[in-house]
Subunit: 113 residues, 2 copies
DNA sequence: CATATATTTCATCTATTGTTGAAATATGGA
DNA sequence: TCCATATTTCAACAATAGATGAAATATATG
């Protein structure tokens, strides 16, 4: 990931409504959720939600596909991983003890990746 | 980390100047850099830099201490790890294959944490 | 084809955020 | 004490971003 893509992704997540949406989608799994279902869960007006999903989509953090009348949105796990990787890149400048706190991440990932 | 702290941290990083500053500090290590040195490296005016450092500081992402006439800023690695952990929490809903892409993170952390 | 459902687009308004330069504060040294 | 260096604070301005409701688009069904 390059610098400006990281800024775009961070900006997309740096807002209450959008972070809430993204977390719902991350937890919902790769099939995703219909836009309307997301709106119901996070309690947003349709047009506000649509704008939020557009921002997340432009940042590459969610994907969408139509299914019948609904449009299903899903978290883009690869892009999310890219962003996390970018943030920790070159973190310790050759001194492993510096980024030791990052080891805690592993313990918090539910699936033990 | 709780929701609003995550939003604050993401907002702090979601801007070109501040992400640049943060990355400089992450790579500089725990001793940190003088504010003036940071300004020189990222090419910002002193007052703009100061405002940026304040935002990062309020988000808990950097710490500061005075040393002589300089004020040294350093990345807060623990808070950074907390943020990353928050983003991946409950990511796979019991299905490990969902967050498999996150495994790539490990390979990108220079010190192999 | 007409109607109902699902979502997006658009224009407008409001609020928030970033930048800038000048002045203020804090420290160290002659 | 006086001056130089380092950084922050402040006020004003400019730019950006989010919310809203109405209208538009797309799909499904009777």
């Amino acid at each position: 990931m390059e610098f400006s893509a990281a800024v775009t992704a961070l900006s997309a997540l740096a807002y209450e409504g959008r972070l809430m949406i993204f977390r719902e989608l991350v937890q919902a799994g790769p099939e995703g959720l219909a836009a309307g279902e997301v709106a119901r869960r996070v309690g947003m007006a349709p047009s506000t939600l649509s704008a939020s999903l557009t921002v997340l989509s432009h940042a590459g953090l969610v994907t969408s596909r139509r299914e019948g009348r609904s449009i299903l949105y899903a978290a883009a796990y690869e892009q999310m991983a890219e962003l996390l990787a970018y943030l920790v890149e070159d973190c310790c400048n050759g001194r492993p003890e510096v980024c030791a706190p990052l080891a805690a991440i592993r313990a918090r990932v539910a699936c033990g990746v």
